[in-house]
Symmetry: C2
Subunit: 317 residues, 2 copies
């Protein structure tokens, strides 16, 4: 199957139509309109087979997850998603794989109103690289650098499920169903509504991709602060507690990664606003600690004793 | 070496500073300002080791070429380059490779005023995927679809050199020097000045990545026209003619690919404007044929006899 036939059959015209796409797939570059007063948020992420996901993960999940981890970066900036570029490197043109991959990709793209406006198809080891673009009102992007001592630290959703789900992913290809960590590894939900609702409220935000400890530490580094994290307050799902017990669940939440929840900080003065917008957040949020003036990241139990942190997140190299 | 150390050492703060970068490397996404009245041009391209370039190509050339082939897409739209996202998948963190790669990348980035505003580092088979972003005044992008019967067809630079250069690339790693096809394969020059100078003059444009026949055919398909191409008018370099003779040189120009020159069409009424701007084009241009109402792509010699077209460009799958 020829490159242009693959694009035509699986990728052209499948996503939502957007008025701000002047020229989408089919020229040397996409031409896009950014509305006045809006800034562009842009990010890129790669998923490599055998590194970021197991080779036997269902292709629909690969399609969903590739886009979701990118949209999660936009969520962490408070940006509204708009456009994506997809660079797909494939060992061969496999119709069944492409069909399922594109279904998973476009189901999420349609739901989040992301238009696929361009891309690249190449032959080689399986690598899915996506660049996403979102829009955010000028000056309102959520940065990592705004946390201040006394700010409350929150996370959305549940932590640790995806890391455990990856361990339990069935070796036989098949759809990962149900409300389990397996489903949350395969089909992470980018917290876009929460990110947008936090504009003007959160002082800092990041998405949890490498484990809460490592990602919160990025906020601390960028903000020049420390933090006290209450490990007994971490939101752990019934599924996770059932599968591995509290001790291991806390470790997975802190260092497991792949959750794609948001971690954000809120000044005490804005807590009423946060509570007023909780309905709009699109995800439950849990207070897990507070920003301190220094002292790095301290993890403590409810009784104040320190929690020994095993490792600080996924090491890419 | 840790991911963040690699970014810090080889990629942060190396490019040009741009006022329109609100937040560059170091947050979940870059935040960028698009000036009023400008549209965004966005494109992505992947280079896979062993597929798009030989494993033994010097890493500085890999860095240059990865960015150049992307900028070439912006040139074909008439866009001015602004920002890039770099997704780099590497088999290991190799200091010498990273140093040379980043030198090649940033030498071109600085020259073209492209700021690296974000990226992704992953472990896996070598794959360099870059998303580039440019700016073009609203409505002035050069599309593939505007060619009309009677328009003259032009190409910039020389064709065929890069395809022959790839064949002659020394198997021993080392800098490809001199005014040769080897240098043009390793260090293609994106025709950005030409692209911008052609706004309001060219009726259609594309960059020549898969061979002139295949790429011109994209213009014909998008415009609903045919073309008559004068193969004896094709710009062939002294180096190419010396290395393989005219017959083979014409074949490489038509079907070899990797030239990253521009192919564009100009209505007869705008030829005076084209000539007036030739100085600003930044590249010699050669008239190689004309657009016809139909009949597909006909390649003819100076005496009017047809030139048999062997294949229509690089097949990616």
């Amino acid at each position: 199957m020829h490159e242009f036939e693959i694009i035509q059959q699986y990728f052209s015209g499948h996503g939502p139509q957007r008025d701000d796409v002047v020229m989408g797939i089919g020229d040397d570059a996409a031409i896009l309109s950014v509305p006045p007063g809006m800034q562009l948020a842009a990010s890129v992420d790669s998923l490599v087979a055998g590194v970021h996901f197991p080779e036997h993960m269902p292709p629909a999940a690969v399609g969903h997850r590739s886009l979701a981890v990118n949209l999660s970066d936009l969520a962490a900036m408070g940006a509204q998603p708009a456009w994506a570029l997809l660079a797909l490197t494939l060992p061969q043109a496999d119709d069944a794989w492409l069909l399922e991959f594109s279904r998973g990709f476009f189901a999420l793209a349609r739901r989040c109103q992301v238009a696929l406006v361009g891309g690249n198809l190449a032959l080689g080891p399986l690598n899915i690289t996506i660049a996403v673009h979102g829009l955010v009102p000028g000056g309102q992007a959520l940065l990592r650098s705004g946390a201040r001592p006394g700010d409350h630290i929150y996370v959305s959703g549940w932590l640790g499920d995806a890391a455990r789900g990856l361990q339990e992913l069935p070796a036989v290809p098949g759809a990962a169903a149900g409300d389990s960590g397996i489903a949350r590894f395969c089909y992470p939900e980018p917290r876009l509504q929460a990110g947008m609702a936090l504009r003007g409220i959160a002082s800092a935000a990041i998405d949890v991709s490498d484990g809460l400890a490592a990602d919160l530490d990025h906020i601390l580094q960028a903000s020049g602060t420390g933090a006290r994290l209450q490990v007994d307050a971490l939101p752990l799902s019934p599924w996770l507690l059932e599968h591995c017990g509290r001790e291991q669940a806390v470790n997975l939440a802190l260092t497991g990664g792949d959750d794609y929840e948001l971690c954000f900080t809120v000044p005490a003065a804005r807590l009423p606003q946060l509570n007023a917008r909780l309905q709009a957040l699109g995800a439950a949020v849990t207070r897990v600690g507070e920003i301190t003036a220094g002292g790095g990241l301290q993890c403590v139990r409810a009784d104040g004793t320190p929690w020994p942190l095993a490792a600080t997140g996924y090491q890419h190299f």
